[in-house]
Every structure is written in structure tokens, then in C-alpha cells.
């Protein structure tokens, strides 16, 4: 739109320039030559007027002089004719003179005076001539003298000529002024022409410069895009509507072993049959004819290096203008390595799935194992204690103290083993079932656990110090077990203190992880055995001193681990112990189910 407007202005400017450069000088020249012609005509006219006036004077004088010659006796035919001449020609000349100066009233007045004078003079000359023929030369002379005295024509003649000269002079002045004006106009026009020419030259120079700049830029852009086209590592090719190659980049030529100086090649001939797949060719024809885009066509091609490559082909129709025949842009992505990687990933996934299957098999076996522990190991124990009792009943009065003691040991051992089995089952169940995550109020769990452990030892003096505790997202039953174990232990191992001090505290680090601590002033333990603390059935104290199964802290560690936290302890023998466990920030707790 903008270019078209500019073009219209250019055309208008050019027309104006032509008008100024060609038409104006023509008009001025034409006007000045016409006025010159007019000036020349006026000059001729003045000269004719003057000549006519002079001729009138001459004819009058010549007739007078002829009469004088006749008076002197010199009479011949020529003289006679000359005498008649004035009378014959003067009236016509006077008419002519009048006609020529019709536009000038002053001259008309002067010509009227001249006519009177000449007419009077000719009348007196005719009188003189008549007197001469009557033989009165004196009278004739007198008439001639009278004519010379009475009708003076010289002044009139001079006046007319003078007036005509004045007129001519004034006309010449006007003509000069006109000529000067014309030359000024011509000069200005010439300057305008020069100026216009200058503008045109400057403008066209600038335009040429701009065009050259644009062409340079375009050339540079074309060179750049060609460089990019060749440098791209992805094979790219352009084909015409008959699938003959138009443009092929280096990557394409290299992949399909094409000669770098190749001419136009039919697609099917490229790469020894890499492109002879009929389905693909059909799809490419669809792209060209129906403008259907070919999107990520997956196939295996044998390329120049003789390997089968996994490629993804994309193609689309290019048609910059409706008039041009469409071209086919073809890009080839070699995804062989990616496909191999994918294959490897798939393989790993399969292996992983196999491992998972194995793992769930193991889990199932473990479950079956714990089931059979739960069911089958307990039955014989029941039978041991049951039949011990039956034995006792059977013996009746025949029992003695020893017998009773043996039977008691058998029964209590069976019961203890049943408890161990139950503990083991709880421990294994903690590792198996899904976490039931919910908002858990640690404060109320701790209060609950405290009440429970206190109720077992109502006679003890225990100073509790429990900080305000937060809500966490966790499995409530599991955390209940944690607190019951930790507080139960704290109560148990402060059994020898007069006043037990048990502190529960919490702190939160920058990531939002909680660290809970239970500290007591009880028996403590030797840190060199700290690694045994959380093992199943591991104990650091004798059963007679502090009874227990050694399963509680193992359960604590398993529960905290399943919540993504960790548990640790520090202590000194006789100086009390501090048990810590951490729980990760709430939003990540679910990641460890």
C-alpha cells in the first residue's frame, strides 16, 4: 500500500518536471518570437510611413523643380512628365499614409496639415504651370514663390518623421523590455530545469543505493539461509512435484550417499532403495497433491553406511505463490540411538517388572510364612500348656512340689514363646500393611501414652515436661505405638530413680522436618552398643533388671522409617537417655508409603 502511494507521487512529480522543463520554455520562446516578429513588423511599418512621407516631399519638390526648369526654357518630355507626377501620385500616397497611421490620432492631425500644405502647393504649382503656358513667366515665378512661402511642408514632414521615430523608439524600448523579461523567464526556467534534474539525479541515486543495499541484504540473507540449510545436522531435502530433488543439504546427501555434485535425482533412486517403500511414496504424493502433512512417519531405512536406521520422516507441501508449482519439503530424523535407548529402557523396565514380581513373590512367601508362624507355631505351644495342665489334673493328689514346678516352667515357657511369636508378628505386620495417612495430633497421642505408662506404675513419682506438639500427617496407630514404646521405655528405665524426669520436646528445621525428642534421667546405656538398640530382640539390660522382649525400639525404627524419618539415641550409663526421631515435612510424608 505504502509503496503504491509513493509510486503515485513519483509519477505526479515526474509529470510536473516534464511540464516545467519542456512546456514552459516552449511557451516562453514561442511568445518571445511572436513579439519579435511583431516588433519587426512595427519597424517596417514605421519605415514605410517615413518613406511615404519622404516620397510625398520628393514628388512635390521634383514637380516644383520641373516647373523651374520649364521656366528656364529647358522643355522636354521628361520634364513635362515630372511636372505632372506630383499631381498624379500625391493623393494616393496621402490615402496610403492615412490608412497606415489610422491608429494614431496625432499623426492623422499632422498628415492632415501636410495634406493641406501639399494640396495648396500643388494648386499654386498648377497655377504657375498654367501661367507659364499662357506666356507669363513672371506670374509663374510669382506663383512658385508664393507656393514656397505660403505652403511650407518641411516642418510637417519633419514632424511626421519625428513622431514616427519617437513611436519606433518607444516600441523598441518595449520590445527590449519584453526580450529582457523573456530572457529572465528563460533563465529561471533553465535554473528550474537544472534544479529538477539535480533532484531527479539525487533521488534516483538514492533509490539505486537503497535497492543495492536491499539486494546486498537479501543476498546476505540468502547466503546465510543456505549456510544454515547446509549446516543443519538434520537431513533436509526439497523435491519438485515429480519427486525430483531440487535442493539437498549435506546431512541428507551424506546419509543417503549422494554425490555432492549431484544433479536432480528422482527420490526413488536415492540411497539404493531407501525410498522405494510404496506406502511412503503414496503418502508423499498425498502431501503434494492433497496438501496433507506427513507427520512423524516411523520407518526403518537402510542408509549409505549399510546400517538399518530407525528414522522419522516429516513432509509438507511448500507453495510460496499460487502460480508456482508446489514443492515437497522432506526432513529425516535419525532416531536409531533414541530407539536403542528406548529399547534399553524398555528392557530395564521389563527387568524391573521381573524384580517387582519376584519381590511380590517374596512378600507373598513372607506373608505365608508369618501366617504359618501365627497359626502353626502357636498350636503346639497351646498343646504343651494344655497337656501340662491335663497332666497336672491327671496326677491329682500324686503331685509333689517338684512336679508342680516342672509343670509351671513348661507352661510359662510356652506362654513366653507365644508372646515372642506375637511380637514378631506385630513387627512383621508393621512392615507390610499400607500406611493409613491422616492428620495426627501428637499432643493427644503423647498424653494417651503417658497415661498408659503411668497407670502401670501408680506408685512412682514422675516429673513430666511436655512441650506443645504439632499436628502431623502420619499413620495414627503406628505413631501411637511409637509414643507408647518411647514413653514406656522412659518410665521403665527410670524405675530406680526417686523422681523420674521425662521430657518430650520438638523442633522444626528450615525444610519443615520435625524432630521429636524424649529425654529421661534413667539408667541410660553405653553408646558403644547403640547400634544394637534398634535390632529385633536385642537388649542392653538384663531381664531381671528391666524386663522386656527387645522388640519395642525395633518397631519404632520400622515405623519411623516407613514415614521417611529416622530414629537415633544418645545416652551415658546412669545419666539418662535421649531418643530422637524425625518426621519429614508433611507434604512429602506420603512419598514413603
Amino acid at each position: 500500500m505504502k509503496t503504491r502511494g509513493v509510486l503515485r507521487w513519483h509519477t505526479a512529480g515526474l509529470l510536473l518536471a516534464v511540464l516545467v522543463i519542456v512546456a514552459l520554455p516552449y511557451a516562453v520562446t514561442r511568445f518571445s518570437s511572436q513579439s519579435m516578429r511583431e516588433a519587426a513588423a512595427l519597424l517596417t511599418h514605421s519605415n514605410v510611413v517615413k518613406a511615404t512621407t519622404y516620397r510625398l516631399a520628393y514628388l512635390t519638390r521634383d514637380s516644383e523643380s520641373a516647373i523651374y526648369r520649364l521656366l528656364a526654357g529647358d522643355s522636354n518630355d521628361l520634364t513635362q512628365q515630372r511636372k505632372e507626377l506630383a499631381g498624379r501620385e500625391v493623393p494616393a500616397l496621402l490615402r496610403q499614409l492615412r490608412a497606415m497611421t489610422r491608429d494614431n490620432p496625432d499623426q492623422q492631425v499632422r498628415i492632415g496639415a501636410l495634406e493641406n500644405a501639399i494640396t495648396g502647393r500643388i494648386t499654386l504649382m498648377n497655377q504657375a504651370s498654367a501661367r507659364l503656358q499662357q506666356g507669363d513667366p513672371a506670374g509663374a515665378r510669382q506663383s512658385l514663390r508664393d507656393a514656397g512661402d505660403l505652403f511650407v511642408i518641411n516642418d510637417d514632414i519633419a514632424g511626421i518623421v519625428q513622431a514616427e521615430d519617437n513611436l519606433l523608439e518607444s516600441r523598441q524600448v518595449a520590445a527590449h523590455r519584453q526580450a529582457f523579461n523573456n530572457s529572465v523567464v528563460l533563465g529561471v526556467t533553465a535554473l528550474a530545469q537544472l534544479l529538477l534534474l539535480g533532484i531527479i539525479v539525487v533521488m534516483s541515486e538514492r533509490q539505486i543505493g537503497q535497492r543495492q543495499l536491499a539486494e546486498t541484504r537479501e543476498g546476505r540473507a540468502v547466503r546465510r539461509s543456505r549456510l544454515i540449510f547446509q549446516a543443519v545436522r538434520e537431513p533436509i531435502a526439497l523435491f519438485d512435484e515429480k519427486l525430483n530433488s531440487l535442493l539437498v543439504n549435506n546431512a541428507f546427501a551424506e546419509l543417503y550417499g549422494m554425490d555432492s555434485q549431484h544433479g536432480s535425482v528422482q527420490l526413488e533412486q536415492i540411497g539404493d532403495g531407501a525410498w522405494s517403500d510404496t506406502v511412503l511414496l503414496q503418502r508423499l504424493n498425498d502431501v503434494l497433491l492433497l496438501d496433507r502433512e506427513l507427520w512423524d512417519h516411523d520407518m526403518i531405512q537402510r542408509t549409505a553406511d549399510g546400517t538399518d536406521r530407525h528414522v522419522v520422516i516429516n513432509a509438507r507441501r511448500l507453495q510460496p505463490h499460487d502460480t508456482e508449482t508446489p514443492a515437497l519439503l522432506l526432513t529425516v530424523s535419525d532416531i536409531t540411538t533414541r530407539a536403542l535407548a528406548e529399547q534399553k529402557v524398555n528392557e530395564l523396565n521389563r527387568q524391573l517388572e521381573g524384580k517387582i514380581t519376584q519381590l511380590s513373590d517374596v512378600n507373598r512367601e513372607l506373608e505365608a510364612f508369618s501366617y504359618s508362624v501365627s497359626h502353626d507355631l502357636r498350636a503346639p505351644l497351646r498343646h504343651i500348656s494344655g497337656f501340662a495342665r491335663k497332666l497336672e489334673q491327671h496326677l491329682g493328689d500324686r503331685t509333689d512340689d517338684k512336679t508342680t514346678h516342672y509343670i509351671d516352667v513348661i507352661s510359662s515357657s510356652a506362654q513366653r514363646m507365644a508372646l515372642l511369636i506375637d511380637d514378631l508378628l506385630v513387627f512383621s505386620r508393621l512392615g507390610r500393611g499400607a500406611l493409613r495417612l491422616q492428620a495426627v495430633d501428637m499432643q493427644s497421642l503423647v498424653e494417651e501414652a503417658r497415661a498408659l505408662s503411668e497407670s502401670a506404675v501408680p506408685e512412682r513419682r514422675i516429673a513430666w515436661s511436655i512441650e506443645p506438639l504439632p499436628m502431623v500427617i502420619a499413620d495414627e496407630n503406628m505413631l501411637r505405638t511409637v509414643w507408647q514404646n518411647l514413653l514406656g521405655n522412659a518410665v521403665k528405665y527410670t524405675g530406680h530413680c526417686d523422681v523420674a524426669r521425662i521430657e518430650v520436646s520438638v523442633k522444626q528445621d528450615r525444610r519443615g522436618d520435625y524432630e521429636f525428642t524424649v529425654a529421661d534421667n534413667g539408667a541410660g546405656f553405653d553408646m558403644q552398643f547403640a547400634d544394637k538398640l534398634f535390632g529385633v530382640f536385642q537388649r542392653l539390660h538384663r531381664n531381671s533388671e528391666f524386663p522386656g522382649n527387645g522388640i519395642g525400639l525395633a518397631n519404632v525404627r520400622r515405623i519411623i522409617a516407613r514415614h521417611g524419618g529416622r530414629v537415633w539415641a544418645e545416652a551415658e550409663p546412669g545419666q539418662g537417655a535421649r531418643f530422637h526421631f524425625s518426621l519429614p515435612a508433611t507434604d512429602t510424608a506420603g512419598a514413603h508409603t
Partner: protein, 148 residues
């Protein structure tokens, strides 16, 4: 004694030791009801349908079935499933008497329509108490609908 008192207590238990203890416990309860012991689920079904070895038994459903879960051939849960599917057996009270504390066993038993779930205590006194109480409750106290 009326007819109701004479209904049997059916004990389904593969462990002979357990069965002996249970029979002792029931005897201690001084119940008039006869106690019948069968050793697995298949035999239990034979008894219920009065077929095979039990073809000639007296007619009538047991007052209660004390059913172990883990048994050869046909488990207690299979027996329970069959019974609850059968219109005639649906109302017979079934008490699961098992060593298993497994949550899954408990849940499945209740889902299948067990009337009670009792874990066999290892402690011998507790065991005797439990079985005695069960016998008394189901055979004497519990009121079942009249049989057809």
C-alpha cells in the same frame, strides 16, 4: 429335656490335640448337648448334608459349629462360604475358632457371615474358659429359630 437342648455342637478341627482339649473344655461346661467332632471341611459338609459317613445320623442342624480355619482339603472359610450360599444352612450359627490373629482372616470371616471369631488362647486356662463359655452361650443361651 426338650428337643432344643439335644441339638449337637459340631466341632470342626483337624488338630486332634486341639480337639481333645476342646472336648474336655466342653465336658467341663456340663452341657447336655452331644458334641460331634469332624476333622476337616469336607467331612463337615458331609455331616451338614447327612451324606457319606453321616448318612444315617439323626436329623437336625447343629446348635453351633465351632469351625477352625486352616484345615486340609477344605478350609473353614470355604465351609462358611458354602453354608451362607445355601438357603437351608444360612442361619446355623458359626463360631470361628482359630489360632490366626491375621487381620485378613478376621475380615474375611466377618464378611462371609461368621457369628463370632475367637482366637484360640495359648494360655490353657484362657482356652478352657473360652471354649466353655462358647458352648454355654450358643447351646443354652442363644435362641435360634425353630427348625423346619
Amino acid at each position: 429335656m426338650n428337643k432344643k437342648d439335644l441339638r449337637t455342637i459340631l466341632l470342626v478341627e483337624d488338630s486332634l490335640a486341639d480337639a481333645e482339649m476342646a472336648m474336655d473344655a466342653l465336658a467341663e461346661a456340663h452341657l447336655a448337648n452331644p458334641v460331634v467332632h469332624v476333622e476337616d471341611g469336607v467331612e463337615c459338609m458331609d455331616y451338614l448334608y447327612a451324606r457319606g459317613a453321616w448318612e444315617s445320623r439323626e436329623a437336625g442342624d447343629p446348635a453351633v459349629i465351632l469351625l477352625d480355619i486352616k484345615m486340609p482339603r477344605m478350609s473353614g472359610l470355604d465351609v462358611l462360604t458354602r453354608m451362607r450360599e445355601d438357603e437351608r444352612m444360612r442361619r446355623i450359627p458359626v463360631v470361628i475358632l482359630s489360632s490366626s490373629r491375621e487381620e485378613s482372616d478376621l475380615a474375611r470371616s466377618w464378611d462371609l457371615g461368621a457369628n463370632a471369631y475367637v482366637i484360640k488362647p495359648v494360655d490353657v486356662d484362657q482356652f478352657f474358659d473360652a471354649v466353655r463359655t462358647l458352648g454355654q452361650f450358643w447351646a443354652v443361651l442363644n435362641q435360634a429359630p425353630e427348625q423346619d
